[in-house]
């Protein structure tokens, strides 16, 4: 068996070596098909899908959380985005006459189809987290807010939303990291992004390139995760309250207690 070029240890060493060579060659990072351009394309695709999902999902999830009804339904309906494989959805969308494979500005070939598929994929964590975040605000807190004479709107903006914010941000963070990694499927319909490097690499038996592309996607996902974590800490009201009290503010919002 030792004559086989693909015996695991040797093959693994070769792949790591090829991947390193691919990633350290500056030529692979530059140009119109270089890693940098593809990375920016994919980031744009992910952020747009996230923004669209947030614009649709957040108001709905927060409002249903506020009125304390329909959350179960909303969560389950948006979970369709999790149940249907994103790629299957994309495959169906590109066969339609619209949006089909219409090129959409910087989002490339089949740009609208890709954005729709990714937006539906981003919805479940956003809707679930935001809805649960608002619903989980303790009744006692809401009671006392009402007792202080707050209207429904005041209750939502001054009490429920600040307390739900860490979960809302956590949902956005989860959605962003998921969408970022999944956006590589755009390559399967000749769209933009780092998926192109991965599919090209494996199609040409160029493992260094294929794995190199995957490594870049993973590293960026990790960075996005860290940034999301930082945003989540900033959004935490008890942390904000603590820092305010450290700075000598006398009245700490009692709702965060």
């Amino acid at each position: 068996m030792d004559r086989h070029a693909l015996d695991p240890p040797e093959a693994l060493v070769n792949m790591v070596d090829q991947t390193w060579q691919y990633l350290t060659d500056p030529a692979n990072w530059q140009g119109s098909e270089g890693i940098v351009v593809l990375l920016v394309q994919q980031l744009l695709l992910s952020v747009t899908a996230l923004a669209a999902a947030a614009a649709v999902g957040l108001p709905l999830a927060l409002w249903l959380g506020h009125i304390g009804r329909g959350g179960f339904l909303a969560i389950n309906v948006t979970n369709i985005g999790r149940a249907i494989p994103t790629f299957a959805l994309l495959a169906i969308l590109v066969t339609t006459s619209w949006p089909g494979v219409v090129t959409f500005g910087p989002y490339g070939r089949a740009g609208i189809s890709t954005l729709i598929a990714l937006t539906l994929f981003a919805l479940p964590p956003i809707v679930t987290s935001a809805n649960v975040g608002v619903r989980e605000v303790p009744d006692a807190v809401k009671e006392s807010a009402r007792g202080m004479g707050m209207t429904g709107g005041q209750l939502f903006w001054r009490v429920e939303l600040p307390l739900a914010l860490p979960l809302v941000v956590s949902g956005l963070r989860l959605a962003l990291v998921q969408v970022w990694a999944t956006a590589t499927i755009a390559a399967l319909v000749a769209g933009p992004g780092l998926g192109r490097i991965i599919t090209d690499g494996f199609a040409n038996t160029d493992y260094g390139k294929g794995i190199g592309g995957a490594v870049v996607v993973a590293v960026v996902a990790f960075v996005l995760e860290l940034l999301g974590g930082a945003a989540e800490r900033i959004a935490d009201p008890s942390r904000r309250a603590r820092s305010r009290s450290r700075h000598g503010a006398r009245a700490v919002a009692s709702v965060s207690a």
């Binding site: 004559r3 070029a5 693909l6 494979v101 390559a187 319909v189 090209d200 199609a203 390139k209």
Partner: protein
């Protein structure tokens, strides 16, 4: 892995021993049904499904127990071939190019001859190194081919690839097309076609057909045995300058397995000698258009070929 093979060898030896005992009681046919298992693998598309089923049919008729496991890409089954895979329905340049690329890297120079035996002799050292033997190549061949719509063919008076000389086209093709001589490179160098853009939509995939039909691209990549084109008002262009390297069908067999079962060469060579490109196209048609099962299609062909 070695342990697994020892175990498998022990099991086969046991089976043979039992078969030998059975045979001694008189019926020579009983011994014939105990040659042991043949693991067939290959890529999972209609033509490979059909060929795998044809191999399985004739091997079963000769007393082997075939087991078929098809996977998406050559990279996957080549990890286990030879080893836990014994036989693969292959294409001459397909496997030779793969082994050379694996050994020499993605920029290696690949054979371009249209003669299968030239390509096999050029790839011999790589095949030997891997422990794979190619049996006799069939006359049936399935190489890359390119199509336009019937309308484009009429409007621009194009029936062969050289008619596209000097024209600018968008090409819908497999992701590996860009740097391949049997794809974009050959079209540009040998035929003088200007390819303005390559859309990596897959080899003979629905996306590629749709892209050409909608005139997003003008030229699409498929194979010489594509049975669906005329149904879709698509027109296959003739490779009139022989830019395609040999992609004759050929059985690839593990050398160790072949040494242990030399009669497998005779069995499979006989099948490959009977196979033609026309037969292959018809079999593909039965599977991809008429939606028949590859196993049924294969059995019918083997029966008619006998």
């Amino acid at each position: 892995m070695r342990k697994g093979r020892l175990l498998a060898a022990a099991m086969i030896a046991g089976a043979l021993f039992l078969a030998g005992c059975g045979g001694s009681s008189g019926d020579s046919g009983a011994g014939k049904s105990q040659h042991g298992t043949v693991n067939i693998s290959g890529q999972n598309f209609a033509e490979a499904q059909i060929m795998a089923q044809i191999y399985a049919t004739v091997l079963r008729a000769n007393g082997y127990t075939p087991s078929i496991k098809l996977v998406d890409t050559r990279d996957v089954y080549m990890q286990q071939f030879p080893g836990s895979v014994d036989v693969v329905p292959e294409y001459v340049s397909g496997i030779v190019d793969f082994l050379i690329t694996q050994d020499k890297g993605p920029n290696a120079k690949l054979p371009t001859s249209a003669d299968p035996n030239t390509v096999i002799s050029q790839g011999k050292s790589y095949l030997d190194k891997q422990g794979i033997t190619l049996l006799d190549p069939s006359e049936a061949t399935d190489h890359n081919a390119f199509f336009v719509t019937d309308k484009y063919s009429k409007d621009h008076n194009v029936t062969k690839l050289s008619d596209l000389k000097g024209k600018s086209v968008v090409l819908a093709a497999a992701s590996d097309c860009k740097d391949r001589y049997d794809c974009a490179v050959g079209l540009e160098q040998t035929y003088g076609i200007t390819i303005t853009k390559i859309l990596p939509l897959g080899f003979a995939s629905q996306q590629t057909y749709d892209s050409v039909k909608s005139n997003e691209s003008q030229l699409g990549e498929t194979s010489t045995t594509d049975a669906t084109l005329s149904h879709n008002n698509l027109f296959l262009l003739d490779d009139d300058k022989d830019a395609q390297p040999s992609q004759n069908l050929v059985p690839a067999v593990s050398t160790d397995f072949l040494n242990a079962n030399p009669e497998v060469a005779t069995i499979l060579n006989k099948v490959m000698a009977a196979m033609t490109t026309r037969d292959l196209t018809e079999l593909n048609f039965d599977v991809t258009v008429n939606r028949q099962s590859p196993a049924v299609v294969a059995q019918n062909w083997v029966q008619s070929a006998r």
